[in-house]
Amino acid sequence: MVKLKINGRDIAAASGSTVLEAAQAHGIRIPNLCASKALSPYGGCRLCLVEVKGKRGYLPACCTVVEEGLEVTTDTPRLRALRRQTLELILSEHPHACLICSEKKDCEEYKSTIRKVGEVTGCVLCSKNGRCDLQDVVTELNVERVRWPASYRDFDVHREDPFFDRNYNLCILCARCVRVCNEVRGAAAISVVYRGPRAAIGTSLDQPLVDSGCQFCGACLDVCPTGSLSERGLKGEGLPDESRETICPLCSLGCGLEVDLKKGRIVCSRPKGDAPVNGGQACVKGRFVVRDTVHAPQRILRPMVRRDGRLIELGWDEALDFVAQKLKEGIDQESAMIISSQLALEDHYIAQKFAHEVLRSDPWVDFTRFSCPALFRAELQKQKISLPLNFEADSLSSAGTIVVAAADIVLSHPILWLEVVKAVRRGARLLIWNNAETALERRATFSLRTNPGSDLAVLVYLCRELLEQRPKDWWSAIPAAEELKTSLEKPGQAILTSSVGLEKADLLSAVRLLQEAGPAVFLIGPGMVQGPDAPRLVQMLWNLALLCEARVIPLAAENNERGVIELWPSGPSNGAFETRVIDGLAKGRYRTLYLAGNLPKLGQGKAPDFLIVQGGYHGAAWESANVLLPAVTWAETDGTFVNAEGRIQRFRSLIDPLGESRPDWQIFCRLAEKMGCGGFSFQSAAEIAEEMSQALPSLHEVSAHHLKKGRPAFVREDLRSSARFIPLADEERGLENHEMTPAPAQLEDVPDYYRGLDLVQEVKGLRKLRERDKARNQNREKQEK
């Protein structure tokens, strides 16, 4: 801590912090427009100038680092005059008719002056009106006139990109957007271009954002102090009625979001500033897609039952009676049930209970793909090794080396990518291991580009080299070390052919990088451990991690994937359920199919006699459904998600259920009651959570009691340390499984869906973005060929 004086007050500030931060922390207000939390100091707006005793001239508080004994004055007549001068200069370039209007006060209330100004000169129609930093500073400095002639810069408004418009006529060149894009997001899609009076924010060669590497995370919108960047969907919306918090369900990270509501509708979602997972950042989905996910036109809003080949709307009671009767009739036959993994923990718990106790069947969880953490846990458990799955995203930024394998985390785990960017900025080494080029490589220290199907061969090679190069007394202490060495040195194991796609020198560079690893982290995408070799791949990744003292983090792809793994202790089915269901249907094993997830592609298979679809959206299942039961989205109910870190996150309903839709758990409970089963008399999600926390020790902290304490709650893990090598098992198949054609590609599509709703189809902007990435990758592949 450093002691200094601001305006005569004694203040203690963290060393390395700026005068501005120190002042703000103690409630001393210094006007500013270009400073922003988490961004590097800029010193461009010159509003935060202060006087420092013993220093010549005026210093910007945002760039001045606190020193012991510093004496700062933030408010003198001269400073006030300078600030007003500067602000007037800013306003001379920014439409300011409303800002300095004498009727401002009345106008706010009665819109009395609205007719007098157009969009160009006034604030009234600006989407930032009421939330604008510039407005605040004008009020704070009490500027009532601008002595300089207005100079409208007359830039064309950029409307060519998805989601938001850019009107740089409103820009004050604080460069917050440029800094957040480069420093925090690692995208560097925008920059200040030109100089002097022509200086502006722009992209390289003035391309649209979509062609300049922008990921449309919206971070620039959120830091912009003016209305230069405006979300298209918010045009004319005005201020929201209220804002509430929620957890984003669109990927496995579960970002904290702040959602603006107006007349019972979601108008906008923004990252929550102090959310533990994402701290003020989101991705394109959390920022721009949430609203359309909830208010999609395909929402099923009323229960429907098929009568004479047509679906007709019915009341809940009638519909549930109908379903209960049908289920009772067929109770002696086996019925299949498929549950979407994207439901809340409470829904899963009840669904499981329903399946076991009411249907007496074994349900399947609808992971659209198999779960990487589940596979790691299962495979290592077979070796009596327990792999910790919990981690904290922000611990990544202190890693010395980060290996990202088979995952394009810029797209699939954008918030983890931010931590990687942070680590790289701090000097960490980044090793990328993918089959195809990704945006990650821009920041990579080294990139291993292997051919599909050669992963095991590469892993064996890396382990062998590390065993050879690391001092023996270091690794020989780990159990089974010799066995591993012998197994790797067996003839035939170590052959590295050209089909791997790498030169030996490349692999040796990777070995060198891994050797000097320091605290290392492996982020493993699901594509790494696919196919029949999955067990051996998991084992060798484990060995490699032990050899470089690294932490292995298998990445969950969907929200609540971790929670579902904990909830289904036997391990959820790993993608094979489709064939089992289709087989079962074909063989007449299942006459009834209850879908609270997606409908498997039935293909030529026989349709079930009775198909219940409980879901949020119309889709393929709708065609052949006998009953449609409208379920709510997460936005309309309370519940709990567990994110990829193992963090337990409670969310509350944002809006009332749309139409007659109901929470999934409620539908299950009412149905069970109608079928005469006890134990389903829950009245709220919290009650379910309470029961769940007692029934499942790993989810103990789900109970409201624990979450209320305000400290982060995590899944409880059984953490017996078990550092032991796993020797490479002999199998008939060689290391490079080329007989498996085609070899599985490591990189998979981003999970852009929510309970069967294809977000890419639904949201035009997202479609444009994903199509761009796809086209880019294809172009690259062509070029490489």
């Binding site: 010159r46 200069l89 002639p149 060149l173 200040v192």
Partner: protein, 573 residues
Amino acid sequence: MKRLTDPSQLAAWKTSLGEERQARQKTIVVSNGTCGQASGSLAIIEAFGREIEKRALQASVGLEITGCHGFCEREPNIVIYPEGIFYGPLVPDDIPKIVDQTILKNKVIGALVYKDPKTGRAFGLQKEIPFYRKQMRLLTGDNLRIDATRIEDYILADGYQALTKALFDMTADEVIHEIDAAGLRGRGGAGFPTGKKWQFCRNETADRRYIVCNADEGNPGTYMDRSILVANPHSVIEGMIIGAYAIGAAEGYIYVRMEAPHAVKQVTIARDLARKHGLLGKSILGSEFHFDLHIVEGAGAYICGEETSLMTSIEGYRAVSRQRPPFPAQAGLWGKPTNINNVETWANVPLIVRQGAEWYSQIGTAKSKGTKVFSLVGKIRNGGQVEVPMGIRLREIIYDIGGGIRDGKKFKAVQTGGPGGGFLPAEFLDLPIDYDSLVQAGSTMGSGGMIVLDETTCMVDLARHYMHFTQEESCGKCVPCRVGTKQIHDILVRITRGEGEEEDLEQIEELAEAVKEASLCGLGQSAPNPVLSSLRHFRGEYLEHIKHKRCPARACRELVSSSQQEARKRKHG
């Protein structure tokens, strides 16, 4: 000659080179700087080459091609040694005559020597010409005998002697002490004591340090640095090696203005020659000191010459200033302690180390030591690059060296310090010029531009011109500089069009003060100086524009034409 691995090899080489030069009977030196080339020196060189070949004089007559000698008004010119006869300006047809008469018969051709335009007196020898006589050419004197593409010429002119002395006879601290004791101040404009600056950088703890030569000379009408780099790049390189040794840097950068391709070429050749001969790179002259130089071409903006912008530009980013502190000495290139000096400052270093601080500190005034190179341009009779001791009076530069105002017009003022400097009207003609006196007089030394103005220059229009320049060249980062200069400029435009009001002047002064105090870097902090200075000395001229809609210098087109129109109206009306 191969790599030098011992200082004695350098000395031996110098001796043998001296003997070679002695063997020649005559040497013709052609001034071939940028100004020379623009006036046709290449044709002169060609003509001499042909003539020497035709008469088979290769053995007895040397032809040396050098950088600018300073007398830009008289280009292309030559000096013939050993006598030092000056001829210029020349055309190729003069060459056979010169070879016939002067080279072969030792006769001075009266028609080609310099004649004083006022008195008509002829001067045969270069050193007698008034333009040179009052100068003290310590840095630029050797330009007469140095072909920058030949390291031999520089070695013959005592080159790399200072380096030998520093590396083998002095400790790093002694070098810094010497520079400090000499009283050398930064020639880039601010005049910060160089020795102190070096010491700051050396005092920082860091795993590496950098040194930088700022050769991004962008002030309008200045060409001192370019001339030095073209004519004598080795002096800068030698200065930098010594500086690197003193500061403890292993890498240096010369950031040269891209718009001075001749300088880029010459300094690159010189750097490569120094590398080849073991004066750069590992184990310089066989010592344990390693240092290498990179040459970076400027990014084409005036702001690149500002030190923090220059560093961001070297790092590969768009040149944008950043707040100081931290100063470059604390966190410069890539966040490492960095010492930045201007070309002329570096060129002074070998001189001080070789001749000693005591000798150096006798030149100049109490607080400003040594000489200063100026670019004398504008409405002056003998424009050129002049080097004078600090403390010389403005009158001596303008009238004795520069020969007075061109076309018999009246002296009005001289502008110094570039776009961040000010004006000195006639009352300051007897001002002894050094860093502090210029600041007191409301101007600055700047990097050494000296633009002479006569009665036909309108001060309002010139102030407008400077504001136009600075607002165009502001990097755009901070508000006062980006918008403030533009607003001042717009007001000045109005005044020159006869649309000014009296309140405008107060408004300009108020805004100018705010821009100076609130701007982020030196560019903005000094941008309003020309306006403020012209307001201070020539307020009447502004008022004339505003009140009577008249431009006394008849330079503001709108006012001149409208008053003429009115006159015409009256005549015919």
